[in-house]
Amino acid sequence: MAINPGDTSWVLMSTGLVLLMVPALGFFEAGLIRSKNSLSTLMQTFSGLIILSILWFIIGFTLVYAPSPWGIIGGLKWAFYYGVPLNTSLDYAPNIPGVTFATYQMMFAVITPLLITGAFAGRLKWDAFFVFIIAWSIFIYYPLAHWVWGKGWLAQLGVYDFAGGIVIHTSAGMGSLAAALVLGRRKHFGPDIMVPHNIPLAVIGAAMLWFGWFGFNAGSALSSGPLAANALITSQIASATAGMVWLLLSWKKSKKPSVTGVITGAIAGLAGVTPAAGFISSQSAFFLGIIVGFASYYGILLIKQRLKIDDALDVSSVHGISGIIGSLAIGIVASSIINPSGPNGLAYGNAAQLGIQALGVVIAAVLGFGGTIVIMKVINAVIGLRVKPEEEEIGLDSTQHGERAYGDEWGVSV
């Protein structure tokens, strides 16, 4: 099919924008944890970009997007990108080169397992991390992405996910909950260890994530036109309203509006609107952001404070709960006026879509949660998951990487 230069430019740009989100995620997380573990998180996100790019090139793209007879997992015809068209398009994205589509999707495959780094921050061994993200990609992300985006069985049932609420945020969010449960709490779990060591760094990370998210959501239109325009404004407004809810809630609870709170709320709003960005109106997104703001805020109170599950950076709430709500919102307020190739939701006379969306969410949550538990238990049995208590106290930066975030000539910590 014909390549459209405008569409191609936008998707090429969006590829870079989503790539930027990977180090941005690292900055966001590193700023919110103690300095002795900050490099380990930056290392996990940056090296994850390397490891998972290679994995996607070798086998990921073909497992997700190559045709499959049963809709379970793609074939191997595009391994190592062999045969992925450069001068023509794939029918997933009819206006852009096949390799551009494949590489844009590479960035999603990179960032999804890395979202879980927020859950296991401060206690996972480096070698366990290395194995974990590869196993998680192959056994959870690739199949799930194939089912929803690669014309697999969930897509055939009519499950919609614009930019990754089911495939990315539900699976990684529930995976984070599982990872936190399997790993257990950090030593001295409590206020003493929840010290954001560099909030400005976290704000830079959040700002870069927000910026990059335009590529994530509006880029998922795979074209440069009204659909991308809608996805961009829905992303912007949902992020703003979710951030506003967090601003007000933190203001009310502690009498002072919280910087770490407001950036977390904005990210929750972006995660929440992701699946729906190309299917719902900006007016719906306005309210979706508000709901996501409340749900993620109280989700953290429930999971971290009440249940004392040490999901260190609250990925299960900020991404998981938000992604689930956004994915279900498609079943309620999606409108084919916004996207003629998308579904109508309950409010537009198609009640069945809500059930279909719920099925997609349940499948992603079960696979993300259960699959993560199995992968982590196997890694634990073979090479071990958690650093030694002494190493955890010293910090992962020097014990896992032999480097320090803020070295100075006046000495090193060990």
């Binding site: 910090g395 006046w410 910590s413």
Partner: protein
């Protein structure tokens, strides 16, 4: 009154703070310090190349206590910081002439109670 100063591994400071508090200490100084010894070196890396340092960050914890608490406090410190490996640090105990709480203007034992 005595001053007890402990130079310990930084990562033990959090635990020691809690345990000293359990033993009845209600205030202390906790400082990041740099220590040098001729015999303890730390190897980290830069771009894959090992680099050895002889200046090492440690924590300094200082408490002011009545004379009869000295043995107990020394035991809490050693119990909670000792690994037996090189680099566990040292403790010093010294006499104080006077301790005065600026808020309450109370002296000595009364100066280091909870207000």
């Amino acid at each position: 009154m005595k001053k007890v100063t402990a130079y310990i591994r930084s990562q033990k400071a959090l635990k020691l703070k809690e345990q000293l508090n359990k033993a009845g200490i209600v205030a202390m100084t906790i400082a990041d310090i740099t220590a040098w010894t001729s015999y303890r070196k730390v190897t980290l890396q830069r771009r894959g190349i090992p680099v050895t340092y002889d200046l090492v960050h440690m924590a300094k914890i200082e408490v002011y206590i009545p004379d009869d608490m000295v043995d107990q406090v020394l035991k809490v410190i050693t119990d909670n910081t000792r690994t037996g490996e090189l680099g566990d640090g040292i403790i010093t105990v010294s006499n104080l002439d006077q301790v005065i709480n600026i808020t309450t203007l109370m002296k000595n034992e009364d100066a280091v109670h909870e207000p």
